[in-house]
């Protein structure tokens, strides 16, 4: 069983606790992404799995093997964990050719010459770098260097794959291409994969499952769909989505949430709850008309940002700003009136004190 299991992991640097009692299981063959802002403990977590950092407490198992247990007194060094790791910097050895970069670790395993040659050829073929074996890393483009790093792992055939922001050094266009090649690597190796990133697009497009971390804690774990549509708390709601989610803080008044300039329809359960609430809705979920309709909220356009296929509209209802996302290339004069409606199906509600999603209370 190629499962990765972390439990009760605590890690601190000096007085600063960077990972706080983390429990995490990656299922065999799963592609799991740890997503979070910088400094949230995600890279530390990955490095602890690899053995490059030592947890203060807790247990780490790779498959059947316990590789770290503070209680049992076990630490396996990284070289004995049988992992593959891709660094942000690719970490190609600049003084070795592509072929040497790929085969150094294979020689360490004392594979036969024929076997090494076959694996090298196969790996280069899979990343489409045949004919580059004799080049030095400095003679390759960024994307090619990245593919060498991938080929190095293909040749090594690890059962566990760790990736630390492997795409962040590439330009936007190459990123889309490399996302596909990383996904292929995962599929070809059938490796249990942990991917660390601060880029939500990468997380949403690549992962089977996402874990969102902040300040050393897991804020939510779930499929990309769940994370996007049902954020467990305000942190996740605000962190995921670009343009960001619209938030409205208000007081329950009858069956609506009164937020000053706008009032938002409430489900029955929450209307009974009363008090203060935060309502959230994604920009693309707001319904928009360019003619008045009763019960719809009038807004005035402020700034429009057409991105080609879509347009981001910053609008104002009185003093309250909100963001809309509509398909198509839209140009409108500033101050044009639009009418929006809050689709009850698309609204989420949060407790302003606990910050938690109140979905549970809806029954």
């Amino acid at each position: 069983m190629k499962q990765i299991n972390l439990s009760g992991i605590v890690k601190s640097y000096g007085k600063e606790v960077v990972v706080k009692n983390l429990d995490l299981t990656v299922k065999p063959g799963e592609f799991l992404t740890i997503l979070g802002p910088s400094g949230c403990g995600k890279t530390t977590t990955l490095r602890m799995i690899a053995g490059l950092e030592e947890p203060d407490e807790g247990l780490i198992e790779l498959g059947e093997r316990t590789v770290f247990s503070r209680k049992e007194g076990i630490i396996l060094p990284p070289e004995m964990r049988g992992l593959g790791l891709i660094f942000q910097s690719y970490a190609l050895w600049p003084h070795m050719t592509v072929a040497k970069n790929i085969t150094l670790a294979l020689k360490e395993q004392r594979l036969s010459k024929a076997d090494i040659a076959a694996r090298l050829a196969n790996a280069l073929k899979l990343v489409q770098l045949e004919g580059y074996a004799k080049r030095y890393p400095s003679e390759l483009s960024g994307g090619q260097q990245q593919r060498v790093a991938v080929a190095r792992l293909i040749a090594l055939r690890p059962s566990f794959l760790l990736m630390d922001e492997p795409l962040s050094n590439l330009d936007a266009k190459l990123r889309t291409e490399m996302r596909a090649s990383l996904k292929r690597l995962h599929r070809d190796l059938e490796a249990t994969t942990v991917y660390v990133t601060h880029d939500q697009i990468e997380a949403l497009t690549l992962s089977d499952r996402i874990i969102i971390m902040n300040e050393g804690r897991i804020m939510q774990e779930g499929t990309p769909f769940e994370i996007y549509h049902h954020p467990a708390n305000l942190f996740v709601a605000e962190f995921i989505g670009d343009p960001g989610i619209n938030l409205f803080t208000g007081t329950v008044q009858g069956d609506v949430l009164d937020c000053g300039d706008v009032s938002i329809p409430l489900p029955e359960a929450l209307a009974k709850r009363g008090g203060k609430l935060v309502a959230a809705i994604r920009p693309e979920k707001l319904l928009v008309l360019n003619t008045a309709k009763s019960g719809w909220q009038e807004v005035k356009t402020e700034i429009l940002q057409p991105t080609g296929a879509d347009t981001i509209l910053q609008v104002k209802a009185g003093e309250t700003s909100m963001t809309l996302l509509q398909s198509g290339f839209i140009t409108l004069p500033e101050g044009t009136s639009l009418w929006v409606s809050f689709d009850p199906e698309s609204l989420s509600f949060f407790d302003p004190d606990s910050q938690e999603n109140l979905r549970g209370e809806l029954g």
Partner: protein, 613 residues
């Protein structure tokens, strides 16, 4: 989270699990193992000797019986301190050398800084001609013993004071050169300054090259005038480099032996270094230890004062004279005069001394500089009882050739060990960044910097004259020369090692670790190849230093481990100027040849072309 089988928590400290954990942990961190080993070794060869001479200085020694019959050998005593600081002899033993050393140190430092920074400014910031040739020539003194100038000075100005022959000037003009020109304070300061400017030049030009001229231009756009820009922008940025140049020069001057011995002893002008040498020769080691301690205290207080003034503690720039061209100001009509000035300066400090030595080595009867008196006897002669006590010429002289072999061996071994030690210290310090161990290691690797050369030599006499545990007595062996050379150069090589390691991104090693590649292979396949260019430069520096060093080892050489610099000093003491000149020339030629070969080899091997990111 709160079930009883929770994986959290730590086992008790003395449990089997915790012990296993600590052992694993230690084993997994090669940088800690290396760090501990290096720290242990360096403490043994740096701190223990220091404590040893402190102890010896306070202990009644058997040779003290000559002064105090009823003394008990091994008992605590203040006798040595009393002699050095309190008795009437103190004036000759301590006060005069102190004044002379300080006078010499300040004057040389001042001149060296002035000359070095003027040259640095000309070379880095102006359009003076022939920069390539000048750049190579200006660092030549670095490859020569510091007392080559002193030897050349004697060839030129020697008078009849110490008997024997007279110098070129007297030969040509018939005028007796006055003592104050031939010997003592003035020539010592002049010849030392004309050597040590090379160090200040390297440090300051390196720093000047990194001061972005855009910063000055930014100042100009704010309306600052030319001099104000230099004063407000350039100077503060150069202060750390200037400060470390001052400290470096001053400490080296305090510890230098050759020049004060050659030019000072004939007129009984004693500095600390020559007084320590004289005390050891007079078998008053106790006095020498006390003087060495005073010298170390002086050096430390000087570093302290300097860091107080500059306000930057870690500003000791390493010697890497890496220069890249910056905006040059046009000298205009002063371009040729400045160029000629540099040429004259180079003739005086590099070419003329070597030519004088060559001439000297070719004269049959010393003091007669006519063409008819020229001979190759001192180079190729077989030995003649009527000449120079029957000493054969250089290429037939067993003593010289043996010392040559020793010098080269010393250079290579010191370079090799220094490179290895620098690499390991660099590895342990950089990988262990932030931990106490790394800081201690960095500190102790830097410690030999504060020991003036002659004082370190004195320390090593005290330390290794008897066996310590399994370490045999090393006095008089070749090993002790290698050891002291490695230790004295460690501050520079460990800096080189740290700088080289910092350039190798951690992930290059980590990725190998994760792929299952063990420590030795990581070192030999990744770390060493990637740090090679820095290491080779550092090792070459050690080689050069080891070959030309005298102050450090003068107290430690004996017929059994004689090296070339010792041979030269011996000939000079016996007033055999032709021999000492010939051997000096040979030494300089060998150093230059080998460093050129190493540079060419490392360039053709492509070392230094790799970008290790």
């Amino acid at each position: 989270m709160s079930d009883t089988a929770a994986p959290r928590g730590k086992p008790p400290f003395f449990s089997r699990q915790n012990m296993a954990y600590q052992v694993y942990r230690f084993k997994n961190k090669p940088e800690i193992i290396i760090g501990v080993l290096c720290l242990g070794f360096l403490s043994f060869v740096v701190l223990v000797p220091l404590l040893q001479i402190v102890k010896d200085a306070f202990t009644f020694q058997s040779y003290d019986l000559a002064y105090q019959r009823d003394g008990e050998v091994g008992a605590f005593t203040l006798l040595h301190f009393d002699r050095v600081f309190n008795q009437p002899i103190s004036k000759a033993l301590f006060v005069k050398p102190l004044i002379n050393s300080l006078k010499m140190g300040f004057a040389v430092t001042l001149i060296a800084i002035f000359v070095g920074s003027s040259l640095a400014w000309l070379m880095v910031r102006t359009n003076v001609h022939f920069k390539g040739v000048f750049g190579a020539m200006l660092v030549f003194p670095y490859m020569m013993p510091s007392w080559v100038m002193a030897l050349a000075w004697l060839s030129l100005f020697k008078n009849d004071r110490i008997g024997g022959s007279e110098g070129l000037l007297t030969y040509l003009t018939g005028v007796q050169v006055p003592d104050w020109v031939a010997y003592g304070y003035v020539p010592i300061v002049f010849t030392l300054a004309m050597h040590y400017y090379a160090y200040t030049y390297l440090l300051i030009s390196g720093a000047l090259a990194t001061v972005d001229s855009e910063l000055e231009e930014a100042g100009a756009t704010c309306g600052l005038g030319k001099w104000k820009r230099i004063r407000v922008i350039t100077m503060p940025l150069l202060m750390p480099a200037l400060g470390s140049a001052v400290v470096l020069t001053f400490i080296r001057i305090l510890g230098t032996f050759g020049t004060p011995a050659l030019l000072g002893l004939p007129v009984r002008f004693f500095t600390f270094s020559t007084q320590i040498y004289a005390s050891i020769n007079a078998r008053n080691q106790g006095d020498a230890y006390v003087l060495a301690l005073v010298l170390i205290v002086l050096a430390i207080s000087f570093i302290w004062i300097n860091s107080r003034i500059i306000g930057v503690r870690k500003s000791y720039v390493t010697m890497t004279g890496k220069g890249f061209r910056k905006r040059e100001s046009d000298l205009g009509k002063w371009r040729w005069p400045a160029t000629i000035l540099v040429i004259l300066f180079l003739c005086m400090t590099v070419i003329m001394p070597l030519l004088l030595l060559l001439w000297e080595s070719l004269t049959l009867i010393p003091g007669n500089y006519s063409l008819s008196n020229l001979t190759t006897y001192f180079w190729v002669g077989q030995g003649n009882v009527q000449l120079a006590y029957g000493e054969p010429g250089v290429i037939h002289n067993k003593g010289i050739l043996g010392a040559l072999g020793n010098s080269v061996k010393l250079g290579f071994m010191a370079a090799l060990f220094n490179g290895a030690l620098g690499l390991l210290v660099g590895y342990a310090v950089v990988r262990g960044r932030g931990a106490k161990l790394a800081r201690w290691l960095e500190g102790i690797a830097f410690a030999p910097y504060i020991f003036p050369s002659i004082a370190l030599g004195a320390i090593y006499i005290g330390m290794f004259s008897t066996n310590i545990g399994p370490v045999p007595a090393l006095y008089g062996t070749f090993t002790i020369l290698v050891l002291i050379t490695v230790i004295k150069n460690l501050p520079f090589t460990s800096r080189t090692g740290i700088a080289a390691m910092l350039q190798i991104h951690q992930s290059l090693e980590e990725t190998a670790r994760v792929q299952g590649i063990g420590w030795f292979r990581r070192m030999f396949r990744i770390i060493i190849p990637l740090s090679m260019s820095g290491l080779v430069a550092g090792m070459l520096l050690t080689f050069i230093t080891a070959m030309r060093e005298l102050s450090l080892i003068i107290l430690l050489i004996s017929p059994g481990n004689m090296v070339l610099t010792g041979v030269i000093f011996g000939y000079q003491e016996q007033d055999m100027a032709q021999h000492s000149s010939a051997v000096t020339l040979m030494l300089v030629l060998i150093i230059i040849t080998i460093s050129v070969i190493v540079r060419l080899l490392s360039r053709s091997a492509g070392v230094g072309r790799l970008s290790a990111t």
